[in-house]
């Protein structure tokens, strides 16, 4: 073998090679698996849920009341690139995700009996068991995977609109029981119900009519282009499969964007570990560098060679890591995903792409650190003194050190090795930061949302279950007669007019409530709301009054128009059939903060607009008598909720919000376990390398009479000390960052969150604990092999 080959060093120094290789493998395995799992759990199910549109495009009138322009249908039918146009509608249900509480919207397609066969043929789907839905019957067919996910089989009942997905809606459709009539053999997740059945039910008739457009083979691009340019207009919406896919990806991008810094941070931390291990190994190789440099090899050549050595080994580790990740994820796929009907494509561009920075960062940092080291190389000093340069050993200032009374204190070693201290603190901190970023973004979002539930602090809500259905008069009578009730206030269903942006990726409903003028005055007094500027909405006008929090959040001012599609009031504002003008802004409520979620429009105005279907008996706010809020809520939740009505109370909404955040954090906890294992591995290797370097010290201490347990205790004390310091510093840094975020970004946006919530801070602990535990185990193992005699018996 060529003695200067980049392989020879590692071939002859297998332990060093094994450490670097294992580090490369672990970081790749960790990152690839992390990203693949995030993709598989959070994004892939949403992609699968829209596969039902992979062979078609959707043409839909934008609002239910405009109806469908017949000329549009004619244009579609005469286009020779289009093979078929079939009418359809859909019912949205929720497919449960891999994590408890997680769900993805999925559309059951309503198709006429005569169109189902064509539809199935286009998707190469066939009936596996059972039969297709009968015309007009409450039946549905599902693809096998979808049936597995919903845990139903032929003959089972499935209530399609009682799912979690509708909990957040102001007026969901009433639950309807469907019978599963058949299971499809299909590669695509499909669900089909009878359109004849839906058309015979009033509430489903309000769902959007639309057409499924099928292109002829090879004409998909031309048809997509035609739909985008010729059919899409202000009244007609067009959604191609590509557009749907883009939407799913766009929704996933914020989460993935949060994942990228995690990956970069972990890769950077590991590259620091590798750079340190290399640096130590390089000290042993000083004679080699000195001789090579003395015999004419340039510093650049040496740097290049060392970088290539590390990079090639990292690439090998990366490749093995990818293969191992494939094995681990295949196991996960078989045992967890496939068993529950979920598709899990772990061989994907995303985890692959996310794992590339590992090599780049490690190679880059190796090159940088090696170049930095080799600028000082002095071949004479190396050959004569085995040090890089004449200056190397003069690293401590003679006057700066004062001897300590207890030199074996855990702090001494790290105080005397500031670079190692910095390295351990920064790598531990980086690992902690990588995961806590996730947790805090969730916790902050959850806290900020609670601010906009404050309006429920003095009132509760009762509404019908069916979309735009009238509240039952008997229920209204029951409420009015109840002894805890002070006043009943009717309001219009809350239309999606405004929403609150909560950085980085969350949002909350900020839409105003439509109430009668008298009730508006009453609520303003009840909550002690004061106008900061402008005026309350005049009855029968499109005026709107909003909270200062919302105005600050969306930078809205008096006179701004909400709902204009040409000039949106803020980026992403919805376009409405009827515009609203901001006439007033409430002042920020002082203690207690109870009015942040309030905004009002005129119910008299809404009743005169056909675009807003205000029911005969609309939903109601219920104001309790003084001191009766808890009794009222108990009665509403425990007794009135049995009357097929939806009850909304402050405590229930807060609990649901907290539960959602908890579920998110649970998912993160699972990810953190994986990351903690990887972090513990990297930091343990670093600690192990540092400790191995101190064999002489331990041997001498043993010879001087210190028992193995004493030395071990001291070493663990040192590790605890440094990891504790790392944890403390990072917690303080986080606290500073969070305070900065609160006062620099959230407060100016009219939002707030609690800094001192205990749970997010708990997530800072697993990584330090994992590092301590694994360091303790490796140190214990090393000490079981400590041979003091062989150390002190050295003859130099």
């Amino acid at each position: 073998m060529n003695p200067l080959s980049i392989w020879i060093y590692y071939v002859r120094n297998k332990q060093h090679a094994a450490i670097l290789l294992a580090t490369g493998i672990m970081v790749t395995l960790g990152i690839y698996s992390l990203v693949a799992l995030v993709w598989g759990v959070f994004v892939e199910p949403a992609r699968q849920a829209i596969h039902a549109y992979s062979e078609t495009s959707l043409v839909t009138p934008k609002t239910t009341n405009n109806g469908f322009d017949p000329s549009i249908l004619l244009k579609l039918q005469v286009n020779t690139d289009i093979e078929n146009v079939i009418p359809s509608t859909y019912i949205r249900i929720e497919l449960p995700g891999m994590i408890p509480g997680q769900g993805f919207p999925f559309e059951l397609l309503g198709l006429y009996e005569g169109d189902i066969a064509y539809f199935l043929e286009r998707y190469s789907a066939t009936i596996k068991t059972g039969r297709l839905p009968q015309s007009g019957a409450a039946e549905l067919v599902l693809s096998e995977d979808t049936a597995n996910i919903l845990n139903v089989d032929v003959g089972d009942e499935y209530i399609v609109t009682s799912s979690e997905f509708y909990k957040g809606m102001e007026a969901p459709p009433a639950p309807t029981t469907f019978i599963v009539s058949g299971i499809l053999d299909s590669n695509t997740e499909l669900g089909i119900v009878s359109l004849e059945f839906l058309n015979h039910h009033e509430e489903y008739r309000q769902l959007a009519d639309r057409f499924l457009v099928f292109a002829k083979e090879g004409k998909e691009v031309a048809v997509d282009e035609f739909l985008r340019s010729e059919i899409r207009n202000l009244e007609t919406d067009v959604r191609t499969y590509q557009m749907l896919s883009e939407r799913v990806i766009n929704e996933a991008i914020p989460g993935l964007a949060l994942l990228l810094p995690v990956v970069l941070l972990v890769a950077f931390a590991f590259s620091l570990v590798i750079a340190t291990i290399n640096k130590m190994a390089n000290v042993q190789r000083l004679p080699e560098f000195g001789i090579l440099h003395a015999t004419g090899y340039s510093k650049r050549w040496l740097v290049h060679r060392l970088t290539m050595e590390t990079t090639i080994l990292t690439m090998a580790g990366w490749a093995v890591g990818i293969v191992l990740a494939g094995g681990v994820l295949q196991l996960v796929k078989t045992s967890l995903f496939a068993a529950r009907g979920f598709v899990f494509n772990y061989v994907s561009w995303l985890p692959f792409t996310f794992s590339i920075p590992i090599i780049l960062i490690i190679a880059g940092l190796t090159y940088w650190t090696t170049s930095k080291t080799f600028t000082r190389i002095d071949p004479v000093a190396i050959v004569e003194q085995r040090s890089m340069s004449q200056e190397t050993d003069q690293k401590h200032s003679r006057d700066s050190i004062e001897s300590q009374l207890k030199p074996l204190n855990p702090s001494i070693f790290y105080l005397r090795h500031p670079r190692r201290t910095l390295l351990l603190i920064s790598t531990t901190g980086i690992m902690i930061m990588a995961i806590v970023l996730f947790v805090f973004s969730l916790s902050i979002g959850s806290d900020a949302k609670e601010l906009f539930l404050d309006y429920l602090s003095h009132v509760s809500i009762v509404r019908s279950q069916g979309m735009a259905n009238s509240l039952d008069s008997s229920v209204l009578a029951l409420v009015k007669d109840h002894p805890t009730v002070e006043r009943v206030i009717p309001y219009a269903p809350r239309y999606n007019i405004l929403n609150v942006y909560i950085p980085p990726f969350a949002s909350a409903n900020g839409s105003p409530f439509g109430v009668y003028h008298d009730d508006l005055i009453y609520l303003v007094e009840l909550y002690g709301l004061e106008l900061k500027e402008g005026q309350l909405p005049h009855p029968g006008t499109n005026d709107m009054v909003i909270s200062e929090s919302l105005a600050r959040n969306r930078d809205l001012k008096i006179g701004d128009v909400v709902g204009d599609p040409e000039q949106p009031a803020y980026p992403g504002a919805p376009s409405l059939d009827q515009e609203f003008v901001i006439s007033g802004i409430f002042s920020q409520p002082v203690e207690p903060e109870t009015g942040n979620g309030w905004g009002f429009i005129s119910l008299e105005f809404l009743e005169n607009q056909s675009a807003f279907n205000v029911p005969d008996i609309p939903p109601i706010f219920i104001v309790p008598k003084e001191g009766q809020k808890e009794n009222l809520d108990n009665w509403l939740e425990n007794e009135l909720a049995q009357q097929n009505v939806s009850v909304v109370t402050y405590r229930k909404e807060i609990a649901q919000n907290k539960n959602t955040a908890r579920q998110g954090m649970f998912s993160i906890a699972l990810l953190e376990i994986g990351l903690a294992v990887v972090a513990a591995f990297g930091l343990t290797i670093l600690n192990y390398v540092f400790t191995s370097e101190r064999q002489m010290e331990f041997g001498v201490l043993y010879a001087l009479g210190f028992g193995r347990h004493q030395i071990l205790r001291r070493l663990l004390g040192e590790t605890t000390y440094i990891i504790g310091i790392a944890w403390g510093i990072n917690v303080l840094l986080f606290l500073a960052a969070i305070v900065g975020l609160l006062f620099g970004i959230f407060k100016p946006m009219g939002l707030t969150f609690s800094i001192f919530k205990f749970t997010p801070w708990l997530y800072t602990l697993p990584i330090p604990i994992a590092v301590l535990a694994s360091s303790a185990l490796t140190t214990l193992r090393m000490f079981s092999k400590l041979d003091a005699i062989s150390i002190v018996d050295r003859r130099l």
């Binding site: 001897s403 009374l405 001498v700 009479g705 210190f706 005699i789 002190v792």
Partner: protein, 230 residues
């Protein structure tokens, strides 16, 4: 008094069994300077490790006064090395991130300010008063070994075991270090292992070891050496 009875140490080296120490019985009286002389590989260092409790014999017994090593736990033997014995090796084995003073302060069981004052005075007596806060790499070879001697003596042990204590020093410095160690015999015993007879000039007894056995206790050598040096 430290006494060995038929002390033996054997170990496996591949397929063969090596006897490093073979049936050695010696006695070290208080305040004696005992030299153990022998060529490389003769077993003299192994004997020192056995006597100091660093290594367990495969046969025989060692007594410190009337306490048998075999009856002691590892903790007890560690305690002996901590309180009753001191060590000086061929290499100084100073801990490189500790100052000279701190390296000396490693020895006491309960470091105190009074101990620190004593350690400073002791280092000053050894000519290192101005280098108390220097790190080992800032000291010369002789200075490092003097710090190692101070570390071995600071806790007033009964016996100091010195394994080739001058092996890495030039002759003059080596003799200075030996003079320091010899001065210790006013308070305790010194057992020095070496293959260099010159440093044993002041020894009360020289035990010569060959192939793991005591070959001689050579008083003539001592006399000749004393004459040669004088």
């Amino acid at each position: 008094m430290l006494q060995t009875e038929n002390l033996t140490l054997t170990y496996k080296d591949g397929d063969s069994i090596v006897t490093a120490v073979n049936n050695i019985s010696i006695t070290i009286q208080d305040h004696q300077f005992i030299g153990i002389l022998g060529p490389s590989g003769s077993g003299k260092s192994s004997l020192l490790y056995l006597m100091s409790g660093l290594r367990q014999p495969t046969g025989g017994e060692i007594f410190l006064d009337d306490r048998a090593y075999s009856k002691m736990s590892e903790k007890d033997r560690n305690g002996l090395r901590r309180t009753e014995y001191g060590f000086v090796f061929q290499h100084h084995f100073l801990i490189n991130y500790m100052t000279a003073l701190e390296n000396v302060m490693v020895s006491p069981i309960a470091p105190s300010k009074a101990y620190m004052v004593q350690a400073k005075a002791f280092l000053a007596d050894l000519g290192l008063g101005d280098k108390l806060h220097r790190f080992p790499y800032e000291l010369s070879g002789g200075e490092r070994q003097r710090v190692a001697v101070a570390r071995a003596m600071i806790h007033r042990p009964r016996i100091i075991f010195a394994d080739e204590p001058t092996g890495l020093l030039d002759r003059t410095t080596g003799l200075q270090v030996m003079a320091l160690l010899r001065s210790f015999c006013k308070q305790g015993s010194l057992v020095a292992v070496t293959h260099n007879p010159e440093i044993l000039a002041e020894a009360d007894q020289v035990i010569t070891i060959r192939d793991g056995r005591v070959s001689d206790i050579d008083y003539r050598l001592m006399h000749d050496l004393k004459e040669m040096i004088s």
